[in-house]
Amino acid sequence: MDRKEEGTVEEPLDLIRLSLDERIFVKMRQDRELRGKLHAYDQHLNMILSDVEETIKVVEKDEETDEEIIRNIKRNIKMLFIRGDGVILISPPLRTS
C-alpha cells in the first residue's frame, strides 16, 4: 500500500488510525470522559488507552435548596481496555491540546 493512501482520511475510522500513539479524548455514555494515549482500536471502537484520566460527572441534588450540584470524580488508570459500545465520540489530539 502506498504512502498517500496511508495518510488520507476517506472514512471516519481513518481519523482514528492517524491518532494511534497520540493522546485522544473519548466521550462515553453515562457522562464519562477519558483522556489517554491510543494504542489499539477495531471497527467496533473497542480501544486500548494508556495513562488514562477518567472524569465522571455526577449530578447531586441539594436536599434543602433543591439545587443541582455537579461534581467531577477523577481517577487515573495505567492501561485500559474500553468496550466500543459505550463510546459516543472520539476527538483526535489537535482539538484536545
Binding site: 455514555r29 453515562q30 459500545d85 459505550g86
Partner: protein, 94 residues
C-alpha cells in the same frame, strides 16, 4: 458454549442484567449464552438479609446474563444468609 462447558451440571450463580441473583444447576448453554438452570432459587438482597425464593427450572436469555459464577459449595454453606446485608445489585446500563 465452550467457555461454559466446564460449568455444566454444576451449581452456578447467574447475575442477570436486571440485577437479580439466581442460583441453580447448569443444564445447558449455547453460543448466545442462553442458559437452562434447574433447581433454581433467587437470592434477594436487602437490608434485612438475603431472602431465598425457590423457582424450579429457568431459561435465561443470553442478553439478560451478565455473569455466571461456579459456586464453591463449601464456601456457600458457610454463607450466613440472614446476616449478609447489602443493597440489591444495580442493573446493567448500556
Amino acid at each position: 458454549m465452550a467457555l461454559l462447558e466446564p460449568f455444566l451440571k454444576k451449581k452456578v450463580l447467574v447475575l442477570t442484567a436486571d440485577g437479580r441473583n439466581i442460583i441453580g444447576i447448569l443444564r445447558g448453554t449455547d453460543q448466545t449464552t442462553n442458559v437452562i438452570l434447574e433447581k433454581c432459587e433467587e437470592r434477594v438482597f436487602s437490608d434485612e438479609g438475603i431472602e431465598v425464593i425457590p423457582l424450579g427450572v429457568h431459561l435465561i436469555k443470553g442478553d439478560d446474563v451478565a455473569v455466571i459464577g461456579e459456586v464453591d459449595e463449601e464456601l456457600d454453606r458457610n454463607l450466613n444468609l440472614k446476616e449478609t446485608i447489602a443493597e440489591p445489585l444495580k442493573p446493567i446500563v448500556h
